[in-house]
């Protein structure tokens, strides 16, 4: 166990996250600026799990987050961009990390999210109408964190998610769409948040999910794909929520994630020896946290926030 702890380059990963935030002088970094809000969520949650959130100045982050809010109540990925449900959840999650949800006009934000529900229970991502079960998850997670689930028709929202279930037990982005581990996570977490996991055939879905583990120990997101660190989160959290995580080899998965670290400069990549990025660093660290890796804060598999943050919101401690 002691050996294992030393295998994770905690300080280097934290320094890497902080440095990425400051990089603005090349094409690769500016071309991601439209989703900076999600980047902030990935980076800051990683820091919190690593126990290093004090490396950033909360006031600076919060004032930037609030400057991304649109008059409609929704948040944009960056200042001056259009609002979207994706970035609205990220903004709420970032504020939750810092225990600053009280800076929000809760009703304004939740009205924006609730306004995106459609007649059939599904959710659009923004005013332009693209529908996806990811948006259902985001809406339910966000409104639950804000204690405003009563603003939507939860029953219909659940019904829509269930209509996206496939014969293999998995879920896709819309009814009939191919099962994909990312979408499965969204659907399972949404059902978990609303207490509706009884709609899931756990053995059937668990079977499909545990078949995502390939020989190297890593997990893929769909049949025949290469393993990828980000699926350590999506597949693993789903398996945990349906209580089937003992169907995969956890030791091999830990080793796979640790092999994807850049041990010199920090950061985690999708596969061993690839280039690192914040997205995969977050999913790698979050995956290790789900695997109860020593020294990391536990993370909640449905809300995708540290367990102490979730407890603070729901139990006031």
């Amino acid at each position: 166990m002691e050996d294992l702890v030393r295998e994770l380059a905690v300080d280097k990963h934290a320094r890497y996250i902080v440095s990425v935030e400051k990089r603005k002088d090349d094409f690769e970094s500016v071309v991601m600026e439209h989703l900076r809000m999600s980047g902030a969520y990935w980076g800051l949650t990683t820091l919190d799990i690593l126990g290093k959130l004090d490396m950033v100045d909360p006031d600076e982050v919060i004032s930037w987050v609030m400057s991304c809010q649109h008059e409609s109540g929704g948040f944009a990925g960056n200042i001056g961009h259009d609002p979207h449900i994706l970035y609205t959840l990220s903004a709420v999650q970032v504020l939750a990390l810092f225990n600053k949800l009280d800076v929000l006009d809760i009703d304004k934000v939740s009205n924006y999210v609730a306004g995106l529900q459609n007649e059939d229970g599904s959710f659009s991502g923004d005013m332009w109408g693209e529908i996806d079960t990811r948006f259902s998850y985001i809406a339910l997670n966000c409104l639950s964190l804000l204690h405003r689930l009563d603003k939507i028709n939860v029953e219909k929202a659940v019904k829509y998610i269930v209509s996206c279930k496939n014969v293999d037990g998995g879920f896709g982005c819309t009814p009939g769409a191919e099962s994909h581990a990312g979408q499965i996570f969204c659907c399972i977490a949404a059902l978990a948040i609303t207490g509706s996991l009884h709609h899931v055939d756990k053995d059937l879905l668990g079977w499909w999910l545990c078949e995502r583990q390939v020989k190297s120990g890593g997990l893929n997101g769909r049949p025949e794909k290469l393993p990828d660190v980000c699926y350590s989160w999506w597949v693993l959290s789903s398996l945990i929520m349906i209580d089937r995580v003992h169907w995969i080899d956890k030791k091999k998965l830990i080793k796979f994630i640790l092999d994807c670290q850049d041990k010199e400069n920090g950061g985690i990549s999708d596969r061993p020896d690839d280039a690192v990025d914040v997205f995969h660093t977050y999913f790698g660290v979050a995956g290790l946290s789900l695997l109860e890796f020593p020294g990391l804060k536990p993370i909640d598999p449905a809300y995708a926030l540290p367990v102490d943050v979730v407890n603070r919101i729901f139990f006031g401690r």
């Binding site: 166990m1 259009d82 332009w128 009939g176 191919e178 049949p223």
Partner: protein, 439 residues
């Protein structure tokens, strides 16, 4: 510091002007790519050969636009409606496109509901968002601004242009979620005007085929094609099944293509009922399903150890048992009594078991594909037994119980022993297997 940044601003603006000029002068550009300066040299060499070989050499050379900077470095390259952008200019170009776009969209949002001429502003929105999206394909605000202008104009030809433009973005970024989403938005707008979308559906399907040809296992692309199924007629569905069969047999690892076929098959299934049921649908369904099962079995035997083929089989066989052999029996004229039904089922399951026998007894099972084939076959048969057990008549259930799946599963896929144990496939004489993880 100020002089330096205004210098680079000016440089970016010049680059942007150049790019927009190229795009305006050739509206038929259908492919764009970022090119490292060293690759330009190679392109030029190929270009020379082309010029020498083609009869219309002069015409081609007139169409060739190569744009050099003051220092003689190539920045853009355009020929035969293909555009290359040097990776060296991406950063200043992006900054210029973003700043101009953000400026004009801010003004447009303020003024768009105010009475007055806004044509220039609208054309600027379209122009700068176009340049920006060719550099950053998922810049959502830029896509939105285009929807804003297009929905105000409501011009059919402009909607068709937008389909062309998003295809151009997909040529360099085939997985761009926003570009695919933009197409769906345009098609929904068109569907409100012309209920007959057959042509568009055909063209979309063809575009996906072309894109997936170059970039495999593209979830977003195949999902787009699957989304089209709801707009298809039955004859189109049958046609799509035919058209994608050859492609699938050449890409047996691409689960998305097989999922697309599942969607088409389910569309036939759902067309036998509803307000306007398709005549003869049940017979078509029976025929098509049988062909698909045979075809899949042929591929399984030819390409060993391919997960996507076996997962396709799970779907096909479960559905066959539950909905065709059991539910539709009686509707089908040649299956009239229970014995016939049971015979059909028993025959089907015998065939599945035969396949399992053949695939799990590959002589040289040290060979990796052979091992994978054995694992997948054992897994398939037990999955099927588990899922359909309750739907089967008792005598067939009894017969299934005589098959010794437990030993097979533990032998073939020992790393999933917890799964087998939990699902009731526990090894009869279980030797003690320790827990996998006790951290």
């Amino acid at each position: 510091m100020t002089t330096q940044s205004s210098y680079s601003d000016q440089k970016g603006l010049n680059l942007l002007q150049e790019l927009e000029y190229i795009l305006d002068s050739d509206p038929l550009i259908d492919e764009v790519g970022f090119i490292h300066p060293s690759q330009f040299v190679a392109l030029d060499h190929n270009g020379d050969d082309d010029l020498l070989q083609s009869e219309g050499g002069i015409e081609s050379s007139r169409r060739l636009q190569a744009n050099f900077s003051e220092t003689g470095k190539l920045r853009f390259w355009c020929r035969d409606h293909k555009l290359g952008i040097s990776t060296e200019v991406l950063f200043p170009l992006y900054n210029a496109a973003k700043h101009l776009f953000m400026d004009v969209i801010r003004q447009y949002k303020i003024l768009r509901n105010v009475y007055g001429e806004k044509d220039n502003m609208e054309s600027d929105v379209m122009k700068h968002s176009r340049a920006l999206l060719l550099l950053s394909c998922d810049f959502g605000t830029a896509w939105n601004s285009r929807k804003m202008v297009l929905s105000k104009e409501q011009d059919l030809s402009r909607f068709m242009d937008e389909l062309h433009f998003s295809a151009l973005v997909l040529s360099y970024s085939p997985k761009s979620e926003q570009a695919w989403s933009q197409r769906r938005w345009v098609i929904r707008m068109l569907a409100e005007r012309c209920p007959n979308l057959q042509d568009i559906v055909e063209k979309e399907s063809d575009l996906v085929r072309k894109i997936t040809e170059r970039y495999k296992m593209n979830y977003r692309a195949w999902n787009h094609r699957g989304w089209l199924v709801s707009y298809m007629t039955i004859s189109q569905v049958l046609n799509e099944l035919n058209k994608s069969r050859h492609w699938a047999s050449l890409h047996v690892a691409d689960n998305s293509c097989f999922h697309y076929r599942r969607r088409l098959l389910l569309k036939i299934f759902s067309s036998k009922e509803g307000p306007s049921p398709v005549p003869n649908c049940t017979a078509i369904l029976y025929q098509v399903w049988k062909e698909e099962l045979d075809w899949d079995e042929m591929l399984i035997r030819r390409y060993m150890g391919r997960e996507a083929l076996w997962l396709h089989r799970r779907f096909l066989s479960l559905f066959w048992i539950k909905h065709i052999a059991i539910e539709l029996h009686g509707v089908l004229s040649h299956l009239e009594d229970n014995t016939a039904q049971n015979n059909d089922l028993a025959y089907f399951l015998d065939n599945e078991f035969q396949l399992l026998e053949n695939c799990s007894n590959i002589p040289d099972s040290d060979f990796e594909d052979g091992k994978a084939q054995a694992e997948l076959s054992a897994s398939h048969f037990s999955w099927l037994c588990k899922q359909c057990a309750k739907s089967l008549p008792t005598e067939i259930q009894e017969k299934l119980k005589t098959r010794d799946l437990k030993t097979l599963l533990h032998k073939m896929c020992p790393d999933k022993s917890f799964l087998w144990d939990d699902l009731g496939f526990d090894e009869p004489s279980a030797n003690c297997i320790g827990p996998v993880d006790e951290n």
